[in-house]
């Protein structure tokens, strides 16, 4: 049996670990809330851009718009959104697993990866996948211009013909306890279902074509921004749950250690008393 001092030391260290996990849980909860607020704020912009596109698109020839051009898919682009840090349960591994499955299905050589977050970037680079671009260390100070820069990279790949379709894999925030693993098509944009057929009779300056060319990248960028926020919320929610579990586990360990400590203490007292009794009897003799 371990001695009393050792057990006491272990109780102390598990106790401080518990404090750390508890603090991490609270920090994660605050970050989820912040990301949710940002999501809420971005919705009117996204909705208005979509409404405008749906209003203008039926009025022009779609062959003039690069980003809705459907081509034979020879090469694919895949955006994989993970985090920079671990301690978030299966948050990263589920995204990486789905991405890997998708790559294997289509052919390793024909998929270009755009990795967001250190976890996916390291995983795919180490395994010699075709990582076109990696982006990390931005989550802490994430802002719209980051999303915009990232979107520009894969928009360029699509318009230059390097890839014929771009998909994104990420975790969508459902609630604090769960996330949905999503795979969505980003490019070419598919708007056919949402066309607004009402004739609005608008004047365009300089032209309908130029307006739609301005709006399409904006739509992609705001979508990217929202997907990044969804993923960030999910990451922090997953971390919150993981840290909550770790705090509970630490509590259990402390309980067991205290029991062990009391047993050891009791044993020490019993031994001491036996020694005293033994000593007293020896003196009486």
């Amino acid at each position: 049996m371990a001695n009393l001092k050792d057990i006491q030391q272990r109780i102390k260290s598990v106790g401080s670990l518990q404090k750390v996990t508890k603090a991490m849980k609270m920090v994660a909860a605050a970050k989820v809330k912040k990301a949710q607020e940002k999501m809420e704020i971005s919705r009117p912009y996204s909705k208005n851009v979509q409404d405008l596109i749906c209003r203008i698109l039926p009025e022009i020839s779609s062959s003039n718009v690069d980003l809705i051009e459907k081509r034979e898919i020879k090469n694919k682009g895949l955006i994989v959104i993970t985090s920079d840090r671990g301690f978030a349960g299966s948050f990263n591994s589920s995204v990486i697993r789905l991405a890997e499955k998708e790559i294997e299905n289509f052919g390793k050589e024909k998929v270009q990866l755009f990795c967001l977050g250190k976890k996916s970037s390291e995983y795919f680079s180490n395994r010699k996948y075709k990582v076109k671009e990696s982006f990390y260390d931005f989550w802490k100070d994430m802002n719209f211009s980051t999303a915009s820069d990232i979107a520009n990279v894969f928009i360029n790949s699509f318009t230059s013909g390097e890839v014929d379709e771009v998909n994104v894999i990420y975790n969508r925030f459902k609630n604090l306890g769960s996330q949905d693993l999503m795979m969505e098509k980003v490019l070419p944009i598919d708007f056919t279902k949402d066309y607004n057929v009402k004739n609005y009779n608008y004047d365009y300056e300089p032209s309908r074509e130029s307006t739609i060319q301005t709006l399409m990248p904006k739509h992609i960028k705001v979508q990217m921004w929202q997907q990044m926020l969804e993923s960030y919320s999910s990451e922090e929610a997953a971390r919150m749950i993981a840290m909550d579990n770790a705090t509970e586990n630490a509590k259990e360990i402390i309980k067991e250690l205290k029991l062990e400590f009391n047993k050891a203490r009791q044993a020490a007292i019993t031994t001491e008393m036996l020694e005293i009794v033994g000593g007293a009897e020896a003196l009486a003799d």
């Binding site: 405008l52 300056e205 307006t211 705001v222």
Partner: protein, 95 residues
């Protein structure tokens, strides 16, 4: 007769709504343009520049990135006159 309309400046990270707008001046890609009540329905590309807003009792100025202006003064629907500016970035200028 009421000569004011509503102005919404919407970005991905913040939004402003102003009522009682009398006049707005925006940086169009083909030059600055002004909007009063009953302006023709228009969709105009914006470039980086300064948005000047005149309400019934004050004047405001904003710097903005490129974007789109959606001017809706359709008398056939029940919606009030409205100018919507969709830009990626906007910052209020302090006089």
């Amino acid at each position: 007769m009421n000569k004011s309309f509503q102005l919404d400046i919407v970005t991905p990270t913040k939004s402003f709504t102003f009522d009682n707008i009398v006049y707005v001046e925006c940086p169009g890609t083909e030059g600055y343009f002004g909007v009063l009540k009953n302006h023709t329905n228009s969709i105009i590309d914006l470039k980086e520049g300064i948005i000047s807003v005149k309400t019934e009792d004050s004047n405001l100025k904003f710097t903005c990135s490129s974007g789109i202006a959606d001017i809706n003064s359709d008398s056939s629907d029940d919606l009030p006159d409205k100018v919507l500016l969709l830009v990626e970035n906007v910052q209020e200028l302090q006089e």
